[in-house]
Symmetry: C2
Subunit: 339 residues, 2 copies
């Protein structure tokens, strides 16, 4: 690929903005409710006005993903919805007593997917919060999805006061497990720190701005803007580290060390303090490579056996992109038919 | 009362340290587990050694108050245990399907009380966490319990780096509802900010130090030290303020204003920003008296309809105190018998 080549990509006709995939991550819950209310107001206004012949923005689907968990203000009712979107979970036979979230993931796949099919929505943005001090992160399964990476750069430029990172979970498409994997492109927008079950104005406002800038970018893209190529830092997840645990009870015996707490994305070196046991002892990082910690002390990951995750940082060259013209699109389709 | 008079108070023979009254407030859960482990080690050591004739410290009862909620890492299973210690709840007839916490509160009352009886433990310290930025607070039902107030002053002196306040809930003894009301003296030790379901080393360490200093103080007191009289600031709870809510759905329509978030115990004046609606509007404090906000944006209080509480600050003269001698104790008992 030449650096100055402009990659042509299909139009993003439909964008899904999802919140409440985890029912106690409240910024997304309240933002989705606000967007639904706003859309109602917009539609009522439209009915009052005469239809004007102007360019339409992309069709936006706003989805409260796990309404039952939202009602109970819990992460999930039976099982973590955001692990129910693998091909196996969506296509396999359903067990006798089906967890609610296994049904809900198929409903969402029917609405926004089917995953991997031409009918899937072009872009899924799934809204999440974390108790970790992560700022705003886009989390995606690809380090070469130019749409996601250009949206990330747009948000970085538009929101210079918010620490922002792009996290890459290197998982094959079939095994990708989260709601955002249902779209042709997709990412989780993860913002913290915010306790689950709480909404903080600053975190809510950052999420609202992030979603608005994302939708603006899609409008610019669809209307034919060219976005220049540039380098982007990508944090690729390497491994998880669990808490020290009692061999009998499996209870944790230490918390994140105070020197590491809230230091997400600050390089962790071998022998740096990692945990402080409840009796006061310091335990150190025994890895042989300095890596970037994130999801440090995320509430929901105690049960998953994750005290923090570690990433390697790489610089990725993102090419310039532009939407396909109608002629390019048709040529592309003909090429595909010939193949 | 003369300022230089020394008030004589009965010995504190038994102290209860309770955690996990709310199962997802993890500093107390892990501290109680650590204390139970430590006590086992101490007892094993004692068995090895010869019994030595030295003064015994107070008998300490360490209690995991709501073990079922702890197992599920939830505030409670059926109902909030820390509202189940009114006289009515402890003595009234039990309904057909009895909530687990209504049974558990009676068990705890049998172990640590009975509430209001001569057999009750002398002091209950119940460990709590909050998502609010409250530092370390002692919360009690009395502004003239000299034991609690002297313990508070001792902690303030010993932990100068931790913001510390004494909160007074002005509720009659019979209506006092929380576990700490079962003891002859009692308080909640509330530390934040810490998300529920998370343990942060700094918050855990502050709680551990607070409990140790409290137990030290009880030893000093029992062994006959005199504690000088002095003034203490007491924050008396005046009222709660709920979130703005949608009249139909009862969903909240605003979050704590960013200028108020984390500003616990900073005076809130009439017309100061209070909430920011999800559409971005600022709502102001309409009270006519400047008051001190606390429990700002506490996670567990969304369901109770409390966005924050407001307190008035008063300076209370706490007299000098000293433990009763055996002769004073007997004279006191004879006086009571004569009456």
């Amino acid at each position: 690929m030449e650096v100055d080549e402009v990659v042509r990509l299909p139009r993003l006709s439909r964008v899904a903005v999802c919140g409440g995939t985890h029912g106690n991550e409240l910024s997304g819950v309240y933002l989705v409710r606000e967007l639904l209310k706003g859309r109602k107001e917009v539609m009522e206004k439209k009915e009052e006005e005469e239809e004007e012949a102007e360019e339409q923005p992309p069709s936006v689907l706003t989805v409260l993903a796990n309404p039952r968990a939202v009602l109970q203000c819990r992460r999930y009712v039976d099982t973590d919805l955001n692990r129910c979107f693998t091909h196996a979970a969506l296509k396999g036979p359903l067990p006798g007593a089906v967890p609610y979230e296994m049904i809900r993931s198929r409903e969402l796949n029917a609405t926004l997917g089917p995953k991997g099919s031409p009918g899937a929505v072009e872009l899924v943005c799934d809204l999440h919060n974390t108790t970790a001090n992560m700022g705003l992160c886009l989390i995606a399964y690809s380090d070469c999805d130019w749409i996601c990476l250009h949206i990330f750069r747009h948000l970085q430029r538009k929101m210079p006061d918010i620490p922002m990172r792009y996290i890459h979970f290197d998982v094959p498409h079939k095994e990708s497990y989260s709601l955002d994997s249902v779209g042709k492109h997709g990412f989780a927008m993860e913002i913290g720190p915010q306790p689950h079950g709480v909404v903080r104005s600053n975190v809510y406002a950052a999420m609202k701005a992030g979603v608005q800038h994302m939708l603006d970018w899609v409008c610019f893209f669809n209307s034919g803007s060219t976005f220049e190529g540039e380098y982007v830092d990508v944090f690729t997840m390497i491994k998880h580290i669990d808490y020290p645990r009692d061999s009998e009870t499996r209870n944790i015996t230490a918390a994140i060390h105070p020197q590491l707490q809230d230091q997400d994305f600050c390089l962790l070196h071998p022998e740096d303090p990692l945990f402080q046991t409840f009796s006061g002892e310091t335990l150190r990082y025994k890895g042989d490579e300095a890596l970037y910690p994130f999801f440090i002390n995320e509430c929901a990951y105690y049960e998953k056996g994750i005290a923090l995750s570690l990433a390697r940082k790489r610089r990725v060259m993102v090419p310039a992109i532009r939407v396909q013209t109608e002629r390019e699109r048709q040529a592309h389709m003909e090429e595909e038919e010939e193949e």
